[in-house]
């Protein structure tokens, strides 16, 4: 028996850079550096840990949908220890929304073959956090999402989901879609050996025709949502800043009272 894990990852604009919109109201990727979404590193890490704890053979494929540069995100995941990568790249994908992205990912996952899909809890740019649930819906398999702890045993995936009201133990049979939070365990740094090995690992490139997807189903045209406007948030007017010279707490209380909070 072997276990095929597909980890979905995203190449995102660096949050510490100057993120803004292009003229067509899509994210401007030219003016800001990209990187593997930090939250997806946790997904790669859990795939590696499942592999390390398994008696069977485990094959880990990292999958991304994105522009040419998105290969950088795949290389990072490969240097952490994933076995191979798939890059879905097509000019017609520009401006695709979450529904369209889930279509492309689901078709690619089915083409690649899988027993388990692992995703991060959300991307660090769009932050919607709905792709794992959409993948489960499209693939017709259980979703075991937002896990802070995950394990695979005897054809089933188990995990713990820490919600606001309760902490829940979850279980589902494979195949399944899992997403993990940043509480699932610190992601490893790629070793020098890992970085060198990654250069030799296979990266497959697929376009829309490889996945039997029509251009009209994706991109800005195929999106089921439309952005009408995007405006920079007005800069806050400079606030009052005082230095504590013994009365800082009282001064702050006075401010809060003046604003009717006390």
């Amino acid at each position: 028996m072997s276990l095929r894990i597909v980890v979905t990852v995203k190449y995102v604009p660096d949050a510490t850079g100057d993120r803004h919109f292009a003229d067509d109201l899509t994210v401007d990727r030219d003016d800001v550096d990209g990187l593997l979404s930090e939250l997806d590193e946790y997904a790669v890490e859990q795939a590696l840990q499942i592999s390390e704890n398994a008696d069977d053979d485990v094959e880990i494929t990292v999958l991304t949908v994105g522009p040419e540069d998105a290969k950088d995100a795949l290389r990072k995941a490969l240097s952490m220890g994933a076995d191979k990568a798939i890059h879905v790249e097509d000019d017609d994908l520009h401006g695709t929304d979450v529904i369209g992205t889930s279509l492309v990912l689901a078709k690619a996952i089915e083409k690649a073959g899988y027993d388990l899909v692992i995703s991060g809890m959300a991307s660090t740019d769009g932050t919607a956090g709905v792709i794992p649930a959409l993948l489960a819906e499209r693939l017709g398999v259980p979703q075991v999402t937002l896990l802070s702890e995950v394990s695979v045993e005897d054809g089933a995936v188990k995990g713990r989901r820490d919600g606001d009201a309760a902490s829940e133990q979850l279980e589902a049979s494979l195949p399944a879609v899992v997403s993990v939070t940043d509480q699932s365990g610190e992601a490893r740094y790629p070793s020098f050996k890992g970085i060198m090995a990654a250069k030799k690992k296979p990266v497959q490139s697929w376009d829309l025709s490889d996945l039997d997807i029509e251009a009209e189903e994706v991109g800005l045209e195929g999106s089921w949502t439309a952005v009408d406007s995007a405006a920079a948030r007005p800069a806050r007017t400079a606030g009052t800043i005082v230095k504590d010279e013994g009365e800082g707490g009282k001064q702050l209380a006075e401010f809060l009272a003046s604003q009717k909070f006390v």
Binding site: F21, D162, A226, V227, R233
Partner: protein, 320 residues
């Protein structure tokens, strides 16, 4: 008038505040019809009617508690088929977003998550979103199908508007996927007695500067003097000083209270992503150069171990 379906978040019949906010927003685009599931669903009717629900659809089954997410999607889909609404509104919790997305895909509709405001537009409801760590505000529409929109807590002031609130039992047939993910155990979180973080009007947070779990008592005491929720930065959570469920920021909760008080928090972009839309922002930090001071309405450059206890004492004195 078009009907707008509102998914109800309740605990044994007690409706949570974000749902009442949804009813207020729903009235801008149509007549609210509410869907309440699980134990106590019928008991939500009075509160929902008081806030504008013309009809309350209810259904209870053990599947809602025993299996993850999908049974609720099945019920919401049944409600959409029965009501044919102009839009579907769902609270923007982690689960709410998953339910909304799956529903949208099933009914061939676009989905918008984490709206912070909603208004009627010529081509259907227009949602406001706050993106890129709240540095941009976008206006977005659903362009295909019935708009499915999740709305963040504190996006509208709750307004009462009495309506009929007629209770009607909804017929639900569960899908083959409904029982796919079993909930095998559940440990309820112990209540602190403080307001829920994402819903609170005031949030008092502590960061790296709090310097230890034992010192979070200072933050809690300030929070209690104001009837506030307690938040923590990622640095404080990663250090194990406070639970992850209280984390404010990109990988934690995003909050939008009337007042946010940041103590010993430098204000890294990841933290700002979770609190920048707060109405009034106050910070206490030793480092005058901390980026948090760029956001504040009022800031105190000083040692939080001096400032916070004095502030708490002063607030308690003023209240007394």
């Amino acid at each position: 008038m078009a009907e707008v379906l509102v998914y109800v978040d309740h605990v044994d019949g007690a409706v949570r505040k974000p749902t009442l906010e949804l009813l207020t927003l729903a009235r801008r685009i149509g007549e609210p019809v509410a869907l309440a599931l699980g134990p106590g669903a019928e008991n939500t009717a009075a509160a929902l009617a008081e806030h504008g629900a013309v009809k309350v659809l209810t259904h209870d089954a053990s599947e809602y508690a025993d299996y993850l997410v999908v049974p609720k999607v099945d019920a919401l889909q049944a409600a959409v088929e029965s009501v044919s609404p102009a839009a579907v509104l769902v609270p923007s919790s982690a689960e709410g977003k998953e339910i909304a997305a799956r529903l949208a895909l099933r009914i061939g509709s676009g989905v918008i998550t984490d709206a912070t405001d909603l208004e009627a537009g010529d081509e259907g409801p227009v949602a406001t979103q706050s993106v890129f760590a709240a540095s941009f505000t976008t206006k977005t529409r659903v362009s295909k199908g019935t708009p499915v929109i999740t709305v963040k807590p504190n996006s509208a002031a709750v307004e009462a508007a009495p309506a009929a609130g007629v209770v009607e039992a909804l017929a639900v047939t569960f899908s083959a996927q409904a029982t796919g993910t079993r909930v095998t155990g559940r440990t309820p979180r112990e209540s602190t007695g403080r307001p829920e973080l994402t819903e609170a009007a005031i949030v008092v947070s502590g960061g790296r500067g709090v310097n230890g779990a034992e010192n979070f008592g200072l933050i809690e005491a300030l929070a209690d003097s104001l009837g506030a929720a307690v938040g923590a930065s990622r640095a404080a959570v990663d250090a194990g000083w406070y639970p992850h469920t209280n984390q404010v920021g990109q990988t934690g909760k995003s909050v939008s209270p009337q007042l946010y008080i940041a103590n010993g928090i430098s204000g890294a972009i990841q933290h700002r992503a979770g609190m920048q839309t707060s109405k009034t922002i106050v910070a206490v930090n030793k480092d005058a150069e901390a980026p948090i001071f760029d956001l504040v309405d009022y800031g105190v450059v000083g040692d939080l171990f001096d400032v916070v206890p004095q502030l708490t004492e002063e607030i308690n004195a003023r209240k007394g």
